[in-house]
């Protein structure tokens, strides 16, 4: 497995797992609605069981049919009410709620796209190792997938959030700039686009970086929550590294204080 794919997969697998877990958790309103239905169902079952016991277990099939039909009618009325409510809400309220959901959905889609592309790379490699692809075809197709993966990751998060090993590989290929700031984020692109730079230049830049600079993402994970295991940068409130999944040790404030002491 090549280093970049290993880096991409290593950085993404635990993150994907945590993202999937986060997506699976229902919202507070969904939990409330679910609880309401569960309680109502439990009450209905308790009443039915009580009726069965009271009548000595002699409830006919037709009675059960009537109960089920009545429950279905309640469900139908509730659904019709839901439709009326949806139409009666002010348009702006629905639009705002859907935009909020859309923003989340958009990010989720990008993450899903990232997973798909990585899966495709894995499958391609598997086919290659099974002897079904020539070297030339393997390289050509894989490069296409990797470029797509990078494109998706750049859309998803800033470059500085990328795994350091991946950052180096992307710089080597000339796919990202030396400067960590995205031109389309509105920040001035102070360094002109150049050929891929080597690690020495990166080390110089990181040494010169001011850890108290603005809260935009930096190329080197010097300020924000850096992982002890892989040195990947993470959000300040992250508890686990999104690149390798390791538990993050120090709090951001402590990390900053440590870095100030080192500098």
């Amino acid at each position: 497995m090549s280093p970049d794919a290993a880096a991409v997969q290593t950085s993404t697998a635990p993150a994907a797992a945590s993202e999937a877990a986060a997506e699976a958790r229902p919202s507070a309103s969904q939990r409330r609605e679910l609880m309401t239905w569960l309680v109502a169902t439990a009450v209905a079952i308790a009443v039915l069981l009580g009726a069965v016991v009271a009548m000595g277990g002699r409830i006919e099939a037709a009675t059960w049919g009537l109960v089920v039909a009545a429950a279905a009618m309640v469900f139908a009325l509730r659904s019709l009410y839901g439709m009326v409510i949806a139409l009666a809400r002010p348009a702006i309220e629905t639009a705002l709620e859907q935009e909020d959901v859309a923003a989340t959905a958009g990010v989720r889609e990008l993450r899903e796209e990232r997973r798909r592309v990585l899966r495709a790379i894995n499958e391609l490699q598997f086919d290659y190792e099974m002897g079904k692809l020539s070297d030339e075809d393997y390289r050509a197709v894989r490069e296409g997938y990797e470029l797509r993966a990078v494109e998706v990751m750049r859309s998803l998060e800033s470059e500085s959030a990328l795994h350091p090993e991946l950052q180096q590989e992307l710089r080597r290929r000339g796919l990202i700039e030396d400067d960590s700031v995205e031109p389309d984020e509105g920040q001035p692109d102070e360094s002109a686009p150049e050929a891929p730079r080597d690690e020495e230049d990166d080390d110089e830049r990181s040494a010169e970086a001011d850890p108290h600079e603005s809260d935009q993402a930096q190329a080197e994970p010097a300020v924000v929550n850096a992982c002890d295991a892989c040195e990947g940068a993470n959000e300040p409130d992250a508890k686990f590294c999104k690149h390798c999944g390791a538990k993050l040790g120090a709090s951001p404030a402590e990390a900053e204080a440590d870095e100030e002491a080192e500098a």
């Binding site: 037709a62 049919g65 089920v68 139908a76 639009a95 889609e109 894995n122």
Partner: protein, 692 residues
């Protein structure tokens, strides 16, 4: 308020809701109004709720025995077991349409809920299409075939129920119709999302991701329904076979063929961005074939023991829907043609893309061929069509088959015609099942070709030689049957070829996996299955197909004897002897029974099994006795007996005796195929393929 009135009101509310939901979805899409779109989404959920209420009301009517409702009176009976009272809901035409609406609305609600946020841009038009389809069926219920329609006579005239058709009071018939319904109805969801993709212009792979699992679900239940139907025919109808190319059997097969093609073809679009038009055509055709199948079974245009009956109004209604589907779909495809261009080209005929393309043509072509042949006898009943055929089409047909006759009246087309054309197609598909995994994407190099093919080709040749040598040895030929069947030998050979391909894939996959980590063979195998479910689940499906074809090959060596026997007589059936031991007369609450006692003897004359074929006369269907077959099951085949006619007083018995080699491999193969399908359907989003 009576149940009849309440049920009819529910159907009216249902129909109105579908119209309102469709209108909201259309307006919401045109005006980009989130409020209207959300209203339509809630409308779809509401449609399901109302359909559920109407269905539960009908079930209550059956359980309570409300025989003022015509449908309940014709299909219910006070002494029917509760289970059959419940299943009587879909036992006849009107109720089956309501069952269709219930399932369709359920699937619509679930699919919209699942894709509401993931594929937001597709939702409004998907809701529109689903609401229109549900609206069509609701209109049929409300205006043509209301299951809540009451008797208009006075209460004294309503007698107790007649009860469900006895042929349907059978465990297979409990599961066979719902399975087929689940499979056919669920095809509306992929169709709706496919149409939405065309309307919105989002024709990349996104819409397929929203429906892949639905198509797999549909395929799974169509498979279950078809095989259960075959098993029922084999065990209950007594003609010794399991598939007769009956029009209603074909009605379930047509969408299955399109569905199978689609499940394979999507892989090409996902990997190479090709076959976009094909995938849309296949998903539209799958849905079209479900409507066509429904048209065949409910309109009366074809003659079949399975058909629901005749209804010219339904024939016109479904005909109109089919025309609308074709016209709208073609218009959308033409409009969006520029967006459907492939990202890549076909680079070699020795490539997986070409194998899938051939696969598409074979499945699509078979489905269209069967669809046309099914309706052909009905067309030949029309004077106008006969004139057109004799003047315009016959010259073309005679180029292919010089002895094709002129049409002078209605013709019938039997199983031999279908077998003649479909058997080679089936073998070609089996061949592609083996070839597909062996060839590479884009192109297969010469060295790779040799490496991949040598094992399977050798295995195929060995299998064919073995069959050619072994079959005549195990069959004594006492009945004078020809034991050289070219199709049979070819089938055995291809089974060996494809089987070896599957084994090779597993062996190499385990080897690759173990090369990357320290694992035992079992661990690597399990890891392979867990991590690459779609691929290796698919191979298990293919293994099931191979076993089924192994069973089909045995059909080429079938032995059949129709003869008269008396008690005490013994006849030879291949390596077995069948002895007539007498006739027994019994009865129960719903039927009289005459059971013939037969003993199966081996070559030494020892009894190895007993058979009990019978004739039953149901009291409510005295003029139509049913045949109960009996069989001795073995790995190598079945000894099968059914009663054609019997006289208790003299013991005179006309029997149909069959020896069906390898038939049980068909059922075993299906079970494995089902298992593979379940593995595939359980693919999770986060699963990586292959080695990681």
């Amino acid at each position: 308020m009576t149940i009849s009135t309440l049920g009819t009101i529910a159907l009216l509310v249902l129909f109105i809701m579908t119209v309102v939901t469709a209108a909201l979805a259309l307006l919401g899409a045109v005006r980009h109004s989130e409020r209207l779109v959300e209203g339509s989404v809630q409308g779809i959920h509401g449609i399901f709720a109302v359909a559920l209420f109407a269905s539960m009301l009908l079930e209550y009517a059956f359980l309570a025995g409300d025989y003022t409702i015509q449908y309940v009176q014709k299909n219910g009976h006070p002494e029917m077991p509760i289970f059959y009272k419940i299943t009587a809901f879909w036992g006849s035409l009107d109720g089956s349409l309501l069952f269709w609406v219930l399932l369709l609305s359920l699937f619509a609600s679930l699919s919209i809920r699942a894709n509401r946020q993931r594929h937001r841009v597709l939702i409004p038009h998907a809701v529109l299409v689903l609401a229109l389809v549900i609206g069509f069926f609701s209109a049929l219920l409300l205006f043509l075939k209301n299951p809540f329609a009451p008797y208009l006579l006075t209460p004294g005239a309503t007698m107790q129920g007649k009860g469900m058709n006895p042929l349907l009071q059978n465990p297979y018939m409990i599961f066979h119709p719902p399975s087929l319904y689940l499979g056919m109805v669920s095809m509306a969801v992929p169709f709706a999302f496919g149409m939405s993709a065309l309307i919105t212009g989002h024709v990349d792979s996104a819409w397929q991701r929203s429906v892949r699992r639905w198509v797999l679900f549909s395929w799974l239940f169509l498979s279950i329904g078809l095989v259960l139907g075959g098993l029922w025919a084999y065990e209950e109808l007594g003609w010794g076979g399991y598939w007769a190319w009956d029009p209603v059997e074909n009605a379930g097969l047509l969408p299955w063929l399109m569905c199978t093609a689609f499940l394979h073809s999507v892989m090409v679009q996902e990997r190479r961005g090709m076959l976009k038009v094909w995938n849309l055509v296949l998903v539209i055709s799958s849905f079209f074939m479900t409507i066509y199948g429904t048209y065949l079974t409910r309109s009366g245009v074809v003659q079949s023991v399975h058909a629901f009956g005749e209804s010219p109004e339904l024939a016109w209604s479904f005909g109109g829907l089919m025309i609308a589907i074709v016209v709208v779909s073609v218009a959308l495809l033409v409009w969006r043609w520029p967006l459907l261009r492939s990202r890549n080209e076909l680079e070699s005929v020795i490539s997986r893309e070409f194998a899938f393309l051939l696969n598409n043509w074979l499945f699509f072509g078979s489905s269209v061929f069967i669809a046309l042949v099914v309706i052909f006898p009905t067309l030949t009943d029309m004077e106008g069509f006969r004139s057109f055929y004799n003047s315009a089409l016959l010259p073309i047909v005679q180029v292919v088959s010089s002895d094709a006759p002129r049409l002078t009246g209605r013709i019938t087309i039997g199983p031999s015609f279908y077998n003649h054309y479909m058997s080679p197609v089936g073998l070609a598909l089996l061949f592609l099942t083996g070839v597909g995994p062996l060839v590479a994407w884009r192109k297969t190099t010469g060295s790779s070709l040799v490496k991949q093919f040598v094992g399977p080709l050798v295995a195929g040749a060995v299998a064919m030689v073995l069959a050619a040598v072994v079959v005549p040895l195990v069959r004594t030929g006492t009945t004078g049957v020809e034991f050289v069947s070219v199709m049979g030998l070819l089938c055995f050979g291809l089974c060996g070829f494809t089987f070896w391909t599957i084994v090779q894939e597993y062996v190499r996959g385990v080897r690759v996996r173990r090369g990357n980590r320290k694992q035992s063979v079992i661990e690597a195998l399990i890891g392979l299955m867990m991590k690459a479910r779609r691929r290796y689940g698919g191979y298990i499906v293919h293994l099931g197909v191979v076993l089924m074809f192994f069973g089909f090959a045995g059909n080429s060596y079938k032995i059949e004897r129709k003869l008269v026997m008396h008690p005490g007589e013994v006849v030879q059936l291949d390596d077995y002897q069948i002895r007539h031991d007498g006739i027994e007369a019994t009865q129960d609450w719903q039927k009289d029974m005459l059971t013939v006692k037969l003993s199966v003897l081996d070559e030494d004359g020892d009894v190895i099994s007993e058979l009990r074929p019978a004739k039953w006369w149901y009291y409510q269907l005295k003029e139509q006795p049913t045949t109960e077959a009996s069989r001795y099951m073995g790995v190598e085949g079945d000894v099968y007996a059914s009663v054609a006619d019997v006289q208790l007083s003299t013991g005179w018995t006309r029997l149909n005796l069959y020896y069906n080699p390898l038939v049980n491999w068909v059922w075993l193969g299906f079970s494995i195929m089902l298992m593979g399908g379940i593995i595939c359907i359980g693919t999770r989003k986060g699963d990586a393929e292959g080695v990681s």
